[in-house]
């Protein structure tokens, strides 16, 4: 091995050692720093992706129209395409109005945010939002929509933040079940195969006997999540050797999230 290669290997080893010596707070700062550098690309890329999706949706509806209405004239198709565009705009207005209404009637103080990127790794369920430290976002703040709990903030940079979704195995939420005195811990599964991941509500009593459809809310125990946020509804219940476990369908469709709110406290 040449001298240059040995020096390169030593420098590589030294930098590697430096990174491996990072503690939790340094790791947080490192991650936040890199995300801050990537922030313009992530927000820009999100806009481009939306435009591409919009064009693709437009083409698809034109295609469907052609199949269903083969006798229609070109002019008619153009009018329908225009209508489609207007409907998209109307839907967006409705969605934003809905979100705004939720913010006004909610008992929580909320910061509206948009999801700009989804998890790019296999083993973690995360989403990047376009709000950061300068908007008042802090680590461990809960993230929700008008439908229920989404997750919590784990990384904050100046202009973007990373939220760990409730479907991640590491996102543990103290929960209570409506109509019972049962309390437990909700967490996601390590691997999800379907589009809608299921959550596990663990540490219930064996006598819980929960029924499908019962609502599961945050209990407020632990201090991260305020009480009363809807997590989901019970799908199944089973008794294990030491405790009872319920499978919970999340209230929020985590695969199609666009707008979320970061909960900063109670009003």
């Amino acid at each position: 091995m040449s001298r240059t290669n040995i020096i390169a290997l030593l420098i590589f080893g030294a930098i590697l050692g430096y990174f491996l010596s990072f503690g939790p707070s340094t790791t947080q700062k490192f991650k936040a720093g890199v995300y801050q550098l990537l922030a313009p690309f992530l927000t820009g890329g999100s806009g481009i992706k939306k435009q591409i999706t919009s064009v693709r949706t437009g083409l698809k509806s034109l295609d469907q129209l052609e199949r269903e209405n083969s006798s229609l004239q070109v002019e008619n198709r153009e009018l329908r395409a225009t209508n489609q565009g207007l409907r998209d705009a109307e839907n967006e207005v409705n969605r934003l109005r809905h979100a705004l209404n939720y913010r006004e009637r909610s008992v929580f103080k909320l910061i509206a945010a948009e999801i700009v990127a989804r998890d790019s790794s296999t083993w973690w369920r995360t989403a990047t939002i376009n709000r950061g430290r300068r908007d008042g976002i802090e680590i461990d703040m809960p993230v929700a929509t008008d439908e229920g709990l989404v997750g919590k903030i784990t990384t904050v940079s100046e202009s973007v933040s990373v939220a760990l979704l409730v479907s991640d195995e590491n996102c543990r939420v103290a929960a209570k079940v409506e109509g019972s005195r049962e309390q437990g811990i909700v967490s996601g599964e390590r691997v999800t195969t379907g589009l809608t991941p299921l959550l596990n509500l663990n540490f219930l009593s064996k006598q819980a006997d929960l029924k499908p459809g019962q609502k599961v809310y945050t209990s407020g125990v632990g201090g991260v999540f305020p009480s009363g946020l809807l997590i989901g509804s019970v799908k199944t219940f089973r008794v294990r050797e030491l405790d009872g476990q319920a499978q919970v369908t999340p209230a929020v469709d985590l695969s199609h999230l666009e707008d979320v709110f970061v909960v900063t406290g109670r009003k």
Binding site: S2, T122, L164
Partner: protein, 180 residues
């Protein structure tokens, strides 16, 4: 040197693109990883010091994406991706003479295998941290899937990178100390 800078830029672009490529539901939600293929190409095409620099750069980016600090605990420590990339790129670099002779088959297959090794290594690390070893068919596919996709992408990406190398006047001959 120009080719090396181009590779750095491509790694950054690929890392950002991975944020916007959804998981594939028909392959058990396997993710598409482009960066490893570019890094492994760089490992074969670049001299040893630049190969290490590329592995370091890609490792830092992957670390930033994968490290999670939850409740004051680090799940996968920063530096682990740098180490994985460094070792795998080093192995790939050892096959450089074969690549210089224009034999790409082994490298395309190994790019896929090594991509799966990265995902497997991450899985083993989180399994060690979380304390329960679960291995299902879905997990198997989420590890093997990215490798198969990388293997399928590798010939096209290698051809593209080879073309960029030619355009930037880069010499692929494994001559000691020659950078471009």
């Amino acid at each position: 040197m120009i080719f090396f800078i181009v590779l750095l830029l491509l790694v950054l672009v690929a890392q950002i693109a991975e944020f916007f490529i959804p998981a594939l539901p028909w392959l058990y939600n396997a993710h598409v990883y482009i960066v490893p293929v570019i890094v492994f190409y760089g490992a074969m095409a670049l001299p040893f010091p630049l190969m290490l620099a590329l592995a370091l750069y890609a490792g830092v980016l992957l670390d930033a994406v994968t490290v999670q600090v939850i409740a004051g605990k680090v799940e996968i420590s920063a530096g682990s991706s740098i180490l994985i990339y460094g070792v795998l790129a080093g192995v790939m670099h050892g096959l450089r003479p074969l690549f210089a002779r224009g034999r790409w088959e082994v490298h395309c297959i190994l790019s896929g295998v090594f991509t799966s090794v990265i995902v497997l290594a991450q899985y083993l690390m989180i399994t060690f941290r979380r304390g329960s070893l679960v291995f299902t068919r879905e997990i198997g596919w989420q590890i093997a899937g990215p490798g198969l996709l990388a293997m399928a992408m590798a010939p096209i990406l290698f051809w593209f990178l080879q073309w960029i190398g030619r355009m930037s006047g880069y010499s692929y001959q494994p001559e000691r100390g020659r950078l471009e």
